[in-house]
Amino acid sequence: MAVAIVIGFTMISFIHSAAFGVMETVKIKAARYFSGHISLTGYVWEKSLIEDPETLISTLKNMDLPLRTIVPRTIYYKSDASLFFGGESIRQRRLVGIDFEAEKDELSGLSFIDGSLENMLINGENGILISKPAADMLGARVGDDITLFITLSSGQYNTKTLYVEGIFNETSLFGYVAYMRQADLNDLLLWEPYLATDIAIYAEDGENLEALSRKISMLLADDYRVLPTMLSKSELYEELSMVDWTKGSVLAPLTLNAHLDQLNDILDAFLIVTWFVLILFILIVMVGILNTYRVLVYERTKEIGTLRALGMSRMSVRLMFLYEALLLSIISSLAGFSLSLILVEVIKIIDISALPGAGLFTENGFLKPYLNLKMACVNMALMAGSVVLAAFEPANKAARIMPAEALRTGK
């Protein structure tokens, strides 16, 4: 019985830690890709632009809010950006122009198979970081000069020769992106160097992003036209279509959750599966506990009769079995938790990049599970509750045993 609980709790803790790790990995990648935990995009006549990003950043920094990094970005949102090299070309989902010095801490999670973030910080001008799929497609390596092709807002073509300073390992939907200096991208777009399209805001860990976004909107409302925080991109576009542009530019805040709106379905499905597995495990454990306790109560009939004869009340008999079950579940859960710690360390070193879609949930093909203590306590409480519930019927039965009958039995 204890073994069943240990195994069950180990699996539950492990699955939860994997799920948490997956969610966290996706969020970290997404924050890099989508301009922070809260992205503030400026729109001027429906076109992405912030005319005075410096003042806006200064205003944000002066707010007494748990924001750890606030940086400008220029993002080329059109999907026609292409990289050319060696006779091959590859389209990029987006181009991100970054102030690498200001955002280096947030980008430190980018893992490189060649080159580095430092290269961009040192050599940066006319440099570009491309993803492994792009590099493979183009046959490009660090040091190669590739041609970046975009169309301006007027529709005209523009190109720039850039040097590959790093190739980062990202194969998922966050991988079809290239990072370059904001100044270089602005130059390519024929913009002034200080202009931006977005402000990337990174919040402190554990903050409620929606609430924070609403607070930011409220505080900016005195000086800017700020749209309400939308729950998805499609809602934002709908809102933008109703803006009266004659009144000036607008700022549109979007949280990471809104950006991940379409991905959330996948993540939700993943969570549902983990909860399903959890419930399944708990049910299996409960059935095991129920059967085992029924046998246990039968085996201890004489002991129960003796205790009842000595003056133990029915409630005490019931509680005795329930406390035993509870103690068993707590000790076994703790053992299971310890085992899951080991399992987590083991899974961290297994490369699962071959699995379909693994690129989205892993860093370099490795899962980054982590055991959330709060979740572990919840799981322990769930397990304890389930075990006690399962033991309830046999405990009740034990309590109702007539002492005289019990003492008569051989057991």
Partner: protein, 255 residues
């Protein structure tokens, strides 16, 4: 005397500037005129062969129907079999691509690559350099056997595919070579038009060779570019029915 000279300079310079500008426009108008069929329709067969750098060839055969006076054209793809029945319809500034499998029309851009070759859809437009570009520089040079005027052009609008161009125009006002540049001045394409054929009182290229400089590979220490060769044959000035320049025509042809 001094004032007279200043007056002369102040008058002559802008006048000469304006007259230089107007002569450039006239030059471009003449270049446009040589290849524009304003009084008749024109049809011809186009064979487009694309060669990837160091790689395979792919061939498209299409029939082109043009009505320059109305700024319309229709292109019907005949080969390869997998693309047979596909069509392009241009009416004014609108360009549609017809897919015979879906039986649907989708808007496309003149700037898009034509059938994934180095040619752009805009290459099939009638020539309109005099309205779309201004001359920013000119010089004389020899190109093979041709004495050419080289004009540097900058786009006047956003409709054209390339913001900057350089054209080599021979003494008969026919373009022999074009270099297309991006806004930053990077060479994107080179087009050579060695031969022309007379069609009525106008000219049509016999063949064109387009090199895409963005798509290049170093092979055996030599740079090879993606290359598209367009051969234009069987030109005809027969009048075309008005109904040909319509969506219904493309649908009907595919039934």
């Amino acid at each position: 005397m001094k004032h007279f000279c200043i007056f002369i300079i102040l008058v002559i310079l802008p006048v000469s500037f304006i007259s230089a500008q107007s002569s450039d426009i006239e030059f471009l108008k003449e270049v446009d005129r040589m290849v524009t069929f304003n009084t008749t329709d024109i049809a011809a067969e186009y064979k487009i062969v694309k060669r990837d750098p160091g790689g395979a060839n792919s061939t498209t055969v299409a029939t082109m129907f043009r009505r320059d006076r109305a700024n319309q054209f229709v292109i019907l793809i005949l080969e390869p079999v997998v693309d047979k029945g596909k069509g392009y319809l241009k009416i004014g500034d609108n360009l549609w691509l017809y897919d015979p499998i879906d039986r649907s029309f989708t808007f496309t851009s003149a700037k898009e690559r034509f059938q994934n070759s180095s040619a752009r859809n805009s290459d099939f437009n009638q020539s309109n350099l005099s309205n779309d570009y201004k001359v920013t520089g000119s010089q004389k040079a020899k190109l093979g056997v041709f004495n050419c005027t080289i004009l540097e052009l900058e786009a006047l609008n956003d409709r054209v595919s390339f913001p900057k161009r350089k054209i080599w125009v021979s003494e008969d006002y026919l373009i022999r070579k074009i270099e297309d540049y991006s806004m930053s001045g990077q060479l994107m394409r080179t087009t050579a038009i060695p031969n022309y054929q007379t069609v009525g009182d106008r000219w049509l290229p016999v063949n064109m060779v387009i090199l895409d400089h963005l798509r290049s590979k170093r092979i055996n220490n030599k740079i090879e570019y993606e290359r598209t060769t367009i051969t234009i044959s069987k030109p005809s000035l027969s009048e075309l029915p008005d109904t040909l320049f319509s969506k219904e025509y493309l649908e009907r042809v595919n039934r």
